[in-house]
């Protein structure tokens, strides 16, 4: 393990990707700590970052109301990038997670409306991976998969959604629609 005093970074040549990843995590934490001006910082999220992100995001929502969807998407992306960059590594994880999930949910709808199904699908995957298993995630995911002609996966997602919420009418409708498409897909 080498430590570079002026760049204040750790280094370990020829290490496996797991070790490299851990080292880069430590470096990131060190950089944030060194950059921190406020001596007695707490895991409380920085108020100004939250304000900036919020403003950016609200701007996006306003544009959505004005039906300027492309710009809305852009400003939401900006808001997310802002969150990715501004938030330090010790600000409360729960807050960061909720903030990110909330923004992504809006971004998903914007992508679906604008026909960017792959983007929407990956965001939905991310939401599921981070534990968001609500029915409307399944509805959107099934819809995106159908639009992407992945009927087998769409059926699996839809059925899983129905297992968790057996009475959901929209999922039932999507299942019927998907079964029809599957039949056509299989000739």
């Amino acid at each position: 393990l080498q430590y570079n005093p002026n760049s204040k970074l750790l280094g370990l040549p020829h290490s496996s990707e797991d070790v490299t990843m851990n080292i880069s995590q430590i470096n990131k934490l060190t950089q944030d700590l060194v950059a921190e001006t406020n001596a007695n910082f707490t895991p409380q999220p920085h108020a100004e970052s939250t304000a900036m992100i919020k403003k950016m995001f609200e701007n996006g929502l306003k544009q959505t109301q004005q039906q300027k969807l492309a710009d809305a998407l852009k400003s939401i992306n900006l808001a997310i990038e802002m969150a990715q960059r501004k938030r330090t590594t010790w600000e409360a994880f729960a807050v960061q997670l909720q903030e990110l999930q909330f923004m992504l949910k809006n971004r998903v709808d914007l992508c679906l409306v604008q026909g960017r199904f792959m983007d929407a699908l990956q965001d939905l995957d991310f939401l599921q991976n981070t534990g968001l298993n609500s029915s409307d995630v399944f509805i959107r995911k099934t819809d995106a998969l159908i639009k992407l002609k992945q009927y087998e996966q769409a059926r699996a997602e839809c059925e899983r959604g129905l297992s968790l919420d057996p009475t959901n009418v929209k999922l039932k409708a999507l299942l019927i629609e998907n079964t029809r498409r599957l039949a056509e897909y299989n000739g």
Binding site: M21, K149, R155, R160, S163, L164, Y185, N186, G187
Partner: protein
């Protein structure tokens, strides 16, 4: 102190005979059983047109490889048989040596057997003994003997008479009987000789040092050698038949798996290329080389002088993938399990995993023509069969008539599973009761992509019935063995002949994780595939569809844990994925309704 040795070789033949029998009898039985089982195996598996076509399309490179590395057929000439034959010859030789050895014979006569002397059965009553004795003694009594006998004949007969009297006493008179039972002879303990069942020269003279050296060699070197070789072998291979180092590598990959990694067949191939088996086979090649060889195989690229190496490591991926699948399901990781099976398909069919894999796995397909040409994006065989034959030829870019026919025959014989009925059943119960041991019983229809589609309710209920007799209740999985074994797979690019299987995964819908290791389905009837029932010709289903003609396949998946103790509906996802063909999979959700 002075042992007498077995000079007349009276005892050591029995010792050697005993040792030989202890070794030979189980060996012979095992070999015989194996030969019978092998015959039975050949008869039970079903043949399929794909087998011949697979042979036809197998490149000569692969053919040469198979010839070189195929398991040796000649079971009969196997070393074990030679040992058995040699052993039995030894036994025969020893037996006739014992038979012909005088010393043993007279030693045998020393054995006193009153029943033999009175030639009555050992279970006769006193009355019979008495009458037999009376009859014999009348005959052999010295006074009764006729005069003209010679002296020594007379002594023999007198001796005989004495024996008979003794025998009679041994059976009736208390004291002598006591002696007989205790010492085996009425006259009390006979002179028994204790000796060493070895010829003298082995122990006493010069040969004794040889013997001692023999023992030292046996105990000091030979035994430790075999034990250490056996031990290192068992240590280095897991029960799933993969190398321990490979298994630990896979486990390490699974353990440190990050959600930010994307699971693709490429990732699985990368993991496979780290396998210890490959390193053992080709120590001089690097992991990157193995990975590129695997890619060469999937993209059907020739690897030059590493061609044989490529075929050998591809043949090894069979066991490795099953090992990886086992570990992935143990870590409950569904994504890696399914992608591992997809990798399996792409290795078996030497076709990369894309959305057109189902079509590209067919022989003679011109991929470029097909990619450009396919106007309405044909991705499944079912869709392909909605066109007429010559149209299919144009889509696939096949001019030659016979090739087209063969390609269509392969496409029509690739088995697709159609779900007819699935449920959790507890043998002997009508519902799944809390804490019972259910298993998943799936009724499938093995159909071809060419067949006209019909809904499951077209098949009457009685065809689903299974005999509910006692042994099927005791072991519901026994009835599966009535189904024939799977025929050979159409896999002309795979180095070894194979028949493959379906892997049945059970996933808990709540958290989307696998709950048990895969159940391998390798017995299903492909009889339906011989039907024509072409979707292009069959017009109205009513008249032409006759349910009796269709065979219904059964898949039973044991459930690894007891049913939950609370009533309610628990949703599971059952994935039955073939390791051989693209598109031959099943994936459905199954509720377990637990009721009182």
């Amino acid at each position: 102190q002075s042992y007498d040795y077995d000079e007349g070789s009276e005892t050591w033949p029995f010792f050697v005979l005993a040792v030989l029998c202890v070794v030979l009898v189980p060996l012979t039985l095992m070999q015989a059983y194996e030969i019978i089982a092998a015959k039975d195996e050949d008869s039970s598996s079903q043949s399929s047109p794909l087998e011949k076509l697979s042979e036809k399309y197998t490149g000569d490179q692969v053919k040469r490889f198979r010839a070189k590395f195929a398991p040796k057929k000649s079971k009969l000439l196997a070393r074990r048989n030679l040992v058995i034959i040699a052993g039995w010859c030894m036994v025969a030789f020893l037996i006739n040596k014992i038979g012909s050895n005088g010393a043993i014979k007279d030693a045998a006569t020393l054995l006193f057997d009153p029943y033999a002397l009175l030639d009555i059965s050992a279970s006769s009553t006193d009355r019979e003994i008495r009458s037999a004795y009376r009859k014999l003694s009348v005959k052999f009594h010295p006074d009764k003997l006729s005069k003209d006998l010679s002296a020594d004949e007379r002594t023999v007969l007198e001796e005989q008479y004495v024996m008979i009297t003794k025998a009679y006493k041994a059976l009736t008179d208390e004291i002598t009987r006591e002696n007989y039972l205790r010492y085996g002879h009425p006259d009390g303990p006979q002179a028994t000789s204790h000796g060493i069942a070895l010829p003298k020269f082995l122990v006493d003279s010069s040969a004794s040092t040889l013997m001692v050296l023999g023992y030292i060699a046996l105990l000091g070197f030979i035994l430790p050698f075999f034990v250490s070789r056996w031990w290192s072998k068992t240590q280095s291979f897991t029960k799933k038949g993969i190398h321990a180092r490979s298994a630990s590598y896979f486990a390490d990959r699974l353990f440190n798996f990050k959600p930010s990694q994307v699971v693709t067949t490429g990732l699985i191939l990368n993991w496979l290329s780290h396998a210890a088996e490959f390193k053992l086979l080709y120590p001089d090649l690097t992991q990157e080389t193995f990975e590129s060889l695997l890619y060469d195989h999937i993209n059907r690229r020739h690897s030059g002088e590493l061609e044989t190496a490529k075929l050998r490591i591809v043949a090894k991926t069979h066991a490795l993938l099953f090992g990886l699948l086992d570990i992935a399901t143990t870590f409950r990781n569904l994504e890696i399990s399914t992608v591992a099976i997809d990798t399996f398909k792409s290795i078996v069919q030497a076709t990369p995993l894309t959305s057109h894999s189902q079509i590209l796995q067919l022989p003679n397909v011109d991929a470029k023509r097909f990619e450009e040409g396919s106007v309405d994006d044909i991705r499944t065989l079912g869709k392909l069969f909605t066109f007429e034959d010559e149209k299919i030829g144009k889509i696939l870019g096949i001019e030659d008539e016979t090739k087209l026919r063969e390609t269509l025959s392969v496409a029509a014989n690739i088995p697709h599973l159609k779900l007819l009925r699935a449920e959790f059943t507890v043998p002997g119960e009508s519902v799944v009761t809390p804490l019972s041991t259910p298993h998943i019983s799936v009724k499938v229809l093995v159909r071809s992509a060419k067949h006209k589609f019909f809904t499951p309710n077209k098949i009457p209920d009685e065809l689903y019935k299974e005999e509910q007799d006692f042994d099927s209740l005791r072991d519901p999985f026994a009835s599966l063995s009535n189904q024939p074994a799977l025929p050979r797979t159409f896999a002309p690019h795979f180095p070894a002949k194979r028949s493959g299987c379906w892997c049945a995964l059970v996933v808990l819908q709540k958290d989307g994780k696998v709950i048990q290791t895969p159940m391998l389905v390798d017995r299903l009837s492909f009889a339906n595939l011989n039907k024509d029932f072409d979707k292009r010709t069959v017009k109205d289903l009513e008249k032409e569809f006759n349910p009796e003609e269709w065979e219904i396949g059964t898949i039973k998946i044991p459930f690894s844990q007891p049913a939950p103790d609370q009533k309610g509906d628990y949703y599971f996802r059952v994935i039955v994925k073939s390791t051989e063909y693209f598109g031959a999979d099943l994936d459905f959700t199954l509720p377990m309704m637990v009721r009182e």
